[in-house]
Symmetry: C2
Subunit: 510 residues, 2 copies
Amino acid sequence: MKTQKAIAWLALLVTSLYGAAQTRASVERYVADHQQEILGEFVSLLSIPNVASDKPNIRKNAEQLRQMLLRRGFAADILETDVNPLVYGELRVPGASRTILWYAHYDGQPFDPKLWKQDSAFKPIMRDGRMEDGAKEIPDFSSLKTYPPGARVYARSASDDKSPIIALLAAIDALRASGQQPKSNVRLILDGEEEASSHGLISSLPKYKDKYRAEMMLVLDGPVHSSGKPTVVFGGRGIATLELTVFGPKFALHSGHYGNWVPNPAMDLIQLIASMKDDNGRAVVEGFYDDVPPLTAEEKRILASVPDDPQELMQFFGIARTDKVGGSLQEALQYPSLNVRGLRSAYIGSEARTIIPESATASIDIRLVRETDPDRMIRRVIDHIRKQGFYVVDKDPDDATRAKYPRIIRVTSGSGGATFAGTKAYRTEMNHPAAVEITNVIQRTWNEMPIRIRTMGGTVPMAPFAETLGFPIISIPVVNFDNNQHSENENLRLENLWKAVVTFAAVLAM
Amino acid sequence: MKTQKAIAWLALLVTSLYGAAQTRASVERYVADHQQEILGEFVSLLSIPNVASDKPNIRKNAEQLRQMLLRRGFAADILETDVNPLVYGELRVPGASRTILWYAHYDGQPFDPKLWKQDSAFKPIMRDGRMEDGAKEIPDFSSLKTYPPGARVYARSASDDKSPIIALLAAIDALRASGQQPKSNVRLILDGEEEASSHGLISSLPKYKDKYRAEMMLVLDGPVHSSGKPTVVFGGRGIATLELTVFGPKFALHSGHYGNWVPNPAMDLIQLIASMKDDNGRAVVEGFYDDVPPLTAEEKRILASVPDDPQELMQFFGIARTDKVGGSLQEALQYPSLNVRGLRSAYIGSEARTIIPESATASIDIRLVRETDPDRMIRRVIDHIRKQGFYVVDKDPDDATRAKYPRIIRVTSGSGGATFAGTKAYRTEMNHPAAVEITNVIQRTWNEMPIRIRTMGGTVPMAPFAETLGFPIISIPVVNFDNNQHSENENLRLENLWKAVVTFAAVLAM
């Protein structure tokens, strides 16, 4: 019995190892033969401006993407939302026993054109390496059939997030060229305002949820680990934000005439926020970490297997100490954080005036993990503020309020500019069958264990999908770490694009 | 013997009471007959723009003032300094046994023209009361010979500080009209950049000190007490400033990716400043109050005699508590203060970005009293900063410094934009013979004890005069409290101008 099981398992292993190797080889061959064609479709897509607020061009992107899906035999639609349209495609595979929902976004971060070292962020150029290392532009690259090993394409959304879309479609083409089809039905949702909080996507979830049903959701966004190794991400932190304004005198006062007598709101705000954390960066707000169970030994082991180099990171950032919320960067990201992202009261530097300011404001973001609900975390912070003796208001205090309360603070909460309280975190446990399956297929394809990120620090608004549709969500990042994401001179290392085609083809074929 | 003394004392008292009453009556008569003339000279002086940086107009002011002094028989000169010129005048009185140095300034605060409710801050208008109470403009007021009781002149420097100059010269005219002369030699120094730190005046002290020698110095600046009663001020707080910048990562980082691991400089700054004061607004920096001897019972009594109404002030400012450095506002002003005048780190509100900022800055002013030296106080704060674990630098840290020190702060100190470490406080003890003499002559003139301010909260740079020339310094403020000093729509209540002529005449005749 034992022997039979072992033989069956070995047979399966050999088959899948062989299958993975075969898929990789044939896809790599396809890619080698079609680089110019893949790049041509990529450049064409990058040439359509895609800042979320640019409605006419957003719609041009959507239409071009729909055509790209139609050409591959998808049933493709534009799904309207309150804001920007989604592009939706479905590819049914005969005999498929399950469906995978793939996600990417086609909008890009806004930017300052003056900071780009090229004519336009929407006129892609190629360089023979990394610009910051002195790489030179390769002129007329569209006429080339192959490219230097370190070549990169520079354009807005080259990495974030148009290249995964190109890679996924090329992967389907590559499979078909070798006579294969995806093994699962493909559902693809392309978001038109991820960089502007995905409000349309999330708010349309009730309306379109039947289109999104699947056995798992794969998110194609973000860079691989800084080591460049294949990476799988099983969760993302959520975010809640708070803005705190402490009120002082009704108008700024001469600090000579009234200093020592009229309380200073900047000092009150400082004393308040100082009470929220200890010297090691740990929040001391009551209950802040209560919802997060301790990491298991196995979880700690996997977190420790991420090849972060803390000394190198510290040198790169120019810091000589770290906060001590977790034993490492990866552990730290498994806990909620409380971050002062901005402070403002009166003036500094040459603009400084010798006054007692009328108010002082701090903007705070709380990064969440799956166990920490945004509303509950905000409530805990507000409870803490009240315990420090503050009367909490939601608008400027009137005279009666000012006369009654010695310490008054306005607290508003939101997520960026949005009105909802926050974006929840999500996480698929790393021993979930889907997590194991994705990990294994990538391991087999690249002959090495991918770096497994339990929860990444940043936020993608995927939690409502997991809650509504009940499937596991896993991210497969493919672009280079040093892509200048969200910044000027965004770029994609072409090698990452070619490898992404292989990775996605392997997942499609699993 | 006792009886003889009492009789002599009574005789002196009667003489001086009679003298004061006689001077007041004759000066009031003179003023009543010459309001149009006095106002004419005032309006002419107010019509010359006087922002310290406006060099051509500053010189026009100086020349006009020199002419005004020459017309009264002063020996008058323009004294050149590194920056704006001083106007100096000397009036020798036959038989005078002493000299009094009078000080005022002819420059005014810069301003935003758009915020003035009149064509120009340098085109004086008259209103029949306080603008904020709905007072109306009195057209063509120059042709009037008398004015409504509550009338005010609106112009930059109407109160701060051209009216005291006009009042002093009118007082000399009034004395002479009744056949009197000042009893002491008059030396008059008119500062051309008091609102820009009086750097020229102070730095020229060694050069011109022989011109400034006197038995006492009288400063004509600032408003009377808010009660409107005659006021004498015996000291002013000094000021030292500090700017603290805490360094975080070399560039702002994504708060999701690194929050909980990379320390936040805004939080470090907050923890640091929080450690400097307690909940009652008292500094807990070691030695902060050590140099200040406790107030005597007599000093406390005089401070308590100032008719401040804390409830009214708190209501006016919209605050429900006060700091507890002293038992009252006047007591609080007898101690140094530590005030956060500005805070800045990254962004708030709609500009907020979810980052760990690269730095955080606080601008701090320390108000000083006579016993607290600026350099020593700054040293104490820096010692405190070091005790909190910070490495103190005076410029941006390089990589080696960043790698070595877990907490790095840049500390710069100065006074406003100036490079010197601070402006010292000064104070003439209230039982000094000169203090008693001035108090008495004002009491006799107005038949009531003036309000005695031991140390006012604000700063005038008079300490170097007291140190260099060894004389007592006393301020005799005359303008209305609600004059919108340093703000738009500055004004002078005319009644204050007429009374100032009487007060100054009484002092000239003492």
